[in-house]
Each structure stands twice: as C-alpha cells, then as structure tokens.
C-alpha cells in the first residue's frame, strides 16, 4: 500500500474531480464529447508512456514536441503523395525512432547530459521544420481521416489502441527483464553495471523507444483532422513531463510506473473541460495545472525528506 501511495493519491484526486463533475456538471459525462476528449489525449498518452520510461531511467527528453511535429508533417506529406497508411505508419515510427536514436546516441554514447542534448535537438528540429515548410499546412486525402472509418469507429480505434499500448508497456515494465533493467539503471547505474546490465545500452534504447512511440502518436494525431498543422507538437513536452511527474514518476529516476503517469495525464486533461462545464473562465486552466504539478512535486519532496538519510 505504502509503496503505491503516490499512484493511489493521484487516482484518488482524479476520482474526486470526476465525482465533483458528476454532481455539479453531469453534462461532462455525455458520451460523445467525453469520447472526443479522450481521443484528443490518446496521442499524448503514448508519448507519456515513452517519457515515463526515459524519466525512470534518470534522463529526460524535451525534444518530443519537435519530434512529434516532424513526424506529423512527414507522415502527412507521405499520405498526401498517396502512400497507404500501412506504409505511412511504419515510416513515421521509424523516423521517430531515428530521432530518438540521435538523442540516445549523444546521451549514452558521449555521456552528455540529456537536458542539453534534447534542448538542442528540440530547437534544431523545430526550426528546421519551419525553414523547410514555412508554416505550410498539409492537406490530407480523405481516406486518412479516422483511417477511412466512421468518426466514432475511428475514435474507438485510437482510444483502445492507446490503452493497449499502455497496458503492454505497463506490464512489461514489471514483468520483462527489459523493464527491470530500466529501473535498475535509473536507480543506480553503477550497481546495474556490476550486475551485468549495460547502462549505456539501456539508456540508448529508452530514447529510441520514446522516439518510436512519438512517431506512432503523430499518426494518431493526424488522423483526427483533415489537415496537418506544422506546429502540432508545440508544448507537448511540457504536457507529458507534467503528466508523468504528477503521476508519481520521480524526476531523479528509478521510481514510479505507467499507471500513475496515466492517472496524472487524465487529471491534467480534466482541468480544461471541467472549467468549461463549471463556467469558470478558461484563463484558470494553466494556473490550476501548474498548481497540481507544484503540489505533486512538493509531495515528493516532503516524502523524500521524511524517508531521507
């Protein structure tokens, strides 16, 4: 119980918010708007899963927003050229993995601090994309939106596949050797090395994995509208890092799990629609999200000091 205190308290907070909405704004639970809300968050969930791994491994990647934009635009261009989705999806995933490999290679291979490396790649990718595309939108062929399905079928496909990815990775973190290795490296890289786990390889691979998930998330995003915005990923990194941290993943590595990150993401995602339904001005959204993040970080700090040496 005590070990999962953070995850449980975030879930409890989420429960309270939902309960409050049920009482004061039952309209929030109308199926169609709710499904749309959840669908909008599905790509974020994928990136948050990858980010959780990177942070558990005691690294960070702030270039995911730029990676997301690059993957979205490239996937859109390929689709516009008439590539079938069956090829566009692996291409986007591969492109994401490649960008992740660049980050990972610099961090693990040259042992550079990940915050600086990914800051550099964030700016480079974003400005590079601006330079090439000049802010132009990509118009997608009709058969791309909702995978050519009806809107609600498409929405269900996105939500369920995002949840499936979450469940698989969440279980793998506990039950796969690879997941354990991420925790081990994030907690104590030297001890991990002495136990036969190669810390540099694990670090490299979590970045690649995050990149691949970001590429997949980009696909999940572009199928939701008839056009691809060139800056669709702007601010994504803050959103996912916030979700992961609120969900109890320690920024110092080695602690937390995907279930917590999931709850954190939902909690932050609820803020905006909740405000709308409660007729509170939308300006409060960022302030409330910020307060939630602050609360989570303070809770971690207090806990750590109490448990500390």
């Amino acid at each position: 119980m005590k070990r999962y205190f953070r995850e449980l308290s975030v879930s409890a907070a989420l429960g309270i918010v939902l309960l409050g909405l049920a009482v004061f704004a039952p309209a929030f639970f109308q199926p169609q708007p709710l499904l749309s809300l959840v669908t909008r968050e599905a790509p974020t969930l994928l990136v948050a899963c990858g980010m959780a791994l990177v942070i558990i491994c005691r690294q960070i990647d702030i270039s995911v927003g730029s990676q997301f934009s690059v993957c979205s635009v490239c996937a859109g261009l390929l689709a516009a050229r008439g590539w079938p989705l069956a090829l566009v999806v692996p291409a986007s995933v591969g492109l994401g993995a490649l960008m992740g490999a660049i980050n990972g290679g610099l961090v693990a291979g040259l042992r550079l601090p990940s915050i600086v490396v990914t800051l550099a790649t964030m700016v480079t990718l974003r400005q590079g994309l601006n330079l090439v595309r000049q802010g132009e939108f990509v118009n997608l062929p009709d058969n791309v939106q909702w995978f050519g399905l009806s809107q609600s079928a498409g929405q269900w496909t996105l939500v369920l596949s995002a949840l499936a990815v979450l469940v698989v990775i969440g279980l793998a973190m506990r039950h796969w050797s690879a997941g354990r290795q991420v925790y081990a490296v994030g907690t104590n890289a030297e001890a991990a090395r002495l136990a036969g786990i190669p810390p540099q390889r694990v670090t490299f691979l979590v970045f690649v994995f995050l990149g691949a998930l970001t590429g997949l998330a980009a696909i999940m995003n572009i199928v939701q509208s008839p056009q691809v915005q060139p800056l669709s990923g702007a601010g994504l990194e803050l959103k996912v890092i916030a979700a992961v941290v609120v969900g109890g993943v320690a920024i110092a590595g080695g602690r937390g799990n995907l279930w917590g990150a999931f709850a954190g993401l939902l909690l932050l995602a609820c803020v905006s629609p909740a405000l709308t339904h409660l007729h509170i001005e939308a300006y409060w959204e960022k302030a409330i999200q910020g307060a939630i993040i602050l609360l989570a970080v303070v809770a971690d700090g207090v806990r750590q000091r109490r448990a500390g040496p």
Binding site: R174, H175, W176, S177, A178, R180, Q181, Y183, A184, T187, N188, E190, A191, A192, R193, L194, A195, G196, I197, P198, G254, R255
Partner: protein, 506 residues
Amino acid sequence: MNPSASAPLLTLRRIAKNFGGVRALRGVDFDLAAGEVHALLGENGAGKSTLIKVVTGAHLPDDGEITVAGRTVRRLTPTLAQQLGIACIYQQPALFPDLTVAENIGLRLEHGGARRRIDWPARRARAKDLLVRVGAAIDPEAEVNELSMPEQQLVEIACAVGAGARIVIMDEPTASLTQREQARLFTVVRELRTAGVGVVYISHRLEEIFALADRVTVLRDGASVGTHDVKTMDEAGLIKLMVGREVAQLYPPAESPPGDVVLSLQNVGCAASGVRNVSLELRAGEVFGLAGLVGAGRTELARVLFGLTPADSGEIRLNGRAITLLSPQQAIELGLAYVPEDRRRHGVILEMPIAQNMTMAVHRRIFPGTWLRDGAELALALDYVRDLAVKCAGPDAPGGSLSGGNQQKVSLARWLATKPRVLILDEPTQGVDVGAKSEIHRIIRRLAKDGLAVLMISSDLPEVLGMSDRIGVMRGGALAAVLPGGSDAHTVMAAALGQETGKGAA
C-alpha cells in the same frame, strides 16, 4: 628523546572517538616536537585517518585532550586548526581544478569578505614566492588540472607554508609518486623540518619511514601502542607492533581438500588500472584470500576478472579454456560472479525490493522467455532468504531496510542465483556486525565445500588468516607472494609492506 626540549608543538592525550558502536579511536597518545618528522604507522583501519581528522578539526573527539603549542584546545574546528597553524596534505590534493595555481593559493590564504577587491599582482607575486620556497618549478598562472599529482601536492605544501603552518600532516604523500618525484618531496619535507616545522608523516612504506622520520608512533585497533626513536627500531620490530594482536574469533575449518583448477591467470595485467603481471591458480572448493594494503590492486584485479576493466596482457583460463573477459555480461555467462566492495553503492539497489535485487543478474536464465512471473521470483527469493538466513520483513521489503550483514547476504544471493563457478568477494564483511560476520564466514565455507572457487579480498587480517586455504598478498598492483593457509599475521604483513620477501614485486 628528540631536539628542542621546549613545549611540544602538538600533544594528544587519551583521544577517543566512536562512530555509532564502532570505537575508531580509544585512547591515542601522540606528541610532535618542532623540527621533527614524526611517522604514524598502522594497518588498514587502525585509526590513522580518524586521528588526522581529529587533529584537523574535522571530527570532534569524544574524549581526550589536545594541546597545541602549550595551549589546551577545547573545541578544535577546521578554522581554528588553520589559525593554530595546522595544515594537512591529503593523498588526493583538494584543489580547484579549473582555477589557476595562484587563484587556488589566494583562496586559501586571503581572508576577507565577498566584496573585497582582489589585488591580482600581489596574488601572483605571493604564489610565485611560495612556489619558489617549496622548490617547485610551477607557473602560478597554470590551471591546476594541467598539473601532475606531485605538482598538486607541492601546491598544497606551498599553501601550508604560506599559511605559516607549524604543523604539517602528510597522508601517504608518496602513494602515487615516482622515485624521482618522491626524492624531491623528501627534500621539501627535510627543508620544512629545518625551518622548525613539525611534520606528521603517514605512510605504509617502511623504507620511507627509515629514510625520513625521526620518531614513529604505531597505532593498532584505535590505540597507540608505542612511540619510538626510528634509530632504535628495525622493520621486524615495527611489523610486530602493527600486527601484535590475538586472533580472537573462531573460523569454520576447511572440510574438504581443494579440487581441480577452475580459474588460472598467467601474467595478467591491465595498464589502465595498474594490475601487473599476476599469475595464480584458483581451485574448486578453495577459499583463496587476497590480502594487501588499501590501493595494492586487489579490487582492481577483481574488476579485471569481471570484465569491468579488461586485461590487456596475459592469459586467463577457465577450466583449461582460454577466455577473454570484456564485459560483466560475458563474465556472468562464463560463470564468474563478483560481489562488490561497497554494497550500499554498488551492490544492493536500496530502493528495490529484496526479491528484485536477488534476481537482477539472472532474468534471462531463470525466467523462461522474458516474462518474469512474480510467483517464480518470490519463490527464488524465499529460497535464498531461508538458505542464507536473511533477516527481513519479507522478500518484498526494500533492500535499504536491511542491516549491513543482511544486505551483504542479498548481494551474495544475487550472485549465487547465477550458479557461478568462481565467486569473487570484495571485503565481504566490511561494516558488518560480529554475529552476521561469522554467519557470512560459515556461508563462504559452505559454498567452497559445495565446489565453488572463492576469491576473497579482505583488509581484515584475522579474517584472511582464519578463512583462507591459501593467501595471496598484493602490493603495487602485483601479486607479491602466495602463502599457505595458516600463515601468521607477521608474514602476511611483511609481504604486504614489501619486506623479507625481497624484490617480489618487481
């Protein structure tokens, strides 16, 4: 006894210091006269470092009296020690690597608040003057990270001279020096002595003590066992003072004769970590103790055998087959296991549950496929918890909740789970209480009986003597001697210090 019969520079009486339940110092007497070099000698863990920290004000003694130049000091703080003219030159100089020599000297010697203006020419001039006085040809404008270790030591000495230090403590200053650098350092020390400075000189090298010191005080188990004029002592006498203690503990006896050779090293060396030319054979069912002073290359040899710093010369054979060890993964696959020295930092992952700690090195082997089933993992953990008598709340408790001895057992379990053929233990009972210690000894003996080849590195001399079927003694990165089990402390210590066995290290 010695020159200048006036009040000694420094007098320590009945100094005692406890850390928790460990009595690091229990009644040390020591005095230092002006213009003498007074050597401090003792085994690993005899209390030398603690004593230095008391004198420099880093540790407040629990009991005893410190007198500096006739004045009794109640609470010695690092600042007060500095004001009283006490300076310490550590083995690893504590300078700021990215600042210049002059800036480093300035930071030590210039006082004043954060808003004072720095007089750069004066700072440079003083640095230059001090460096000349200690006979160092170092550019004051050079950055410290460009300097060699001995040059950095000279900068430290220059600081001490500049601070007007009357008491200079040198902690193994020659540990990383070449012969020539050592000779130059000796000249500086002798000049300090001529200038009336009292030097406390700590070294493991007996020949240095005979070459340099006027008097020598030997520490053993946290107490001083005698101060002698160096001229009246010989090497054998000093070694006897250092090790003269009863082996109080009982060790489990060897129960079976050693079997076949499992691991053999032929002239193995690793330039990067300083291991040189090691040849030895390790047999199944044998506990091979590896003794030596701190820094003699024992852990470095273990790291070579575990693929952490691969050997660059010589040959390693496992069951007669030549092998190369380039990574820990490879070493594990071949059946080598290494229980590292610092279990809190490198062994047990404190935040992880015991069960996960135990299975960390064996995921692939014990779990079919790559899916770890909680049940199988817990069963394995429970087996080892029972087998090694780990005292814990359950296999789900975090590693950090255990006592030192039990953490060591978890660390050991992780490696036993790999079903190794060779088990390398690095300081297996360091910081472990007496009860757990003899338990671990019994486990080690049992493992050997079951056919494991055990290489046990230990700085605890009675442990090495009591546990080992054979004893290897390392010195300066090389295996200086291999002695039969049951050798006495004197012989082992002599080999570790480089006496009697002659030029074995060359």
